[in-house]
Symmetry: C2
Subunit: 125 residues, 2 copies
Amino acid sequence: MREPDISIEECSYRRALEIVSNKWTALVIYALEGGTIRYGAIKSRIADISQKMLTQTLKQLERDGLVVRKVTPVVPPAVEYALTPLGTTLLPFLRLLKGWSAEHYASVSNAREAYDAAQKDALPG
Amino acid sequence: MREPDISIEECSYRRALEIVSNKWTALVIYALEGGTIRYGAIKSRIADISQKMLTQTLKQLERDGLVVRKVTPVVPPAVEYALTPLGTTLLPFLRLLKGWSAEHYASVSNAREAYDAAQKDALPG
DNA sequence: CGGTATCCGCTCTGATACTG
DNA sequence: CAGTATCAGAGCGGATACCG
């Protein structure tokens, strides 16, 4: 039997996926692309993200060294977030993904419709 | 209040994420990078993937038009999978992610350790 | 304003058993 | 070999309420 070469220990690709491949992480990084931005502004930019998920995602990104948090002690408090230099190294990857989607998403959408239609025909009438 | 510009309807980036950003999808595409490959061979390459998840992921990729399934009606059955032309357009993106991980994963790992150590210091002894 | 804490449903995921 | 079916647990993610 062949050895698995796509393992969590050996495959760097897989480790990167652990960082980025969840529902909100990449979206939040994308929202930070334009520079320092306040918590509320991020929330306004990303449709459907809850306060809990935004806070949780930002905390995780901070832990990973991809985002910095700056608190200005005023009343009411102002909290700003920005990408670290490490965080900005992810941007080319995100932009490529965006470009891919712009170019090919329609094809995926069409494929889905065709597939679903074929499935429906296969069922008994 | 500002309008969200990162919504599922308008943001192509977000749609791409829906395709790729789950635990196994990108890994399976990566396993198919080298060309046509049998079901069992994919399973051998990817550590820890269960039969259920592999089947489910392949089916979803087929629906999205990224992978083709070829059944050879012999006994025992032989089923092969390959990337479609559309599927191969994702490879540059995956390779970039892999390169990013090779270059920067250590930084993330270090950041995590530093963050966790700081958290521990903040707790009462 | 920018959180934290809690509850709760739902999906994702893996084990196990069975089929052609 | 390549699946399908079923079950059960863990964790994601949302709604709500409260705090500095």
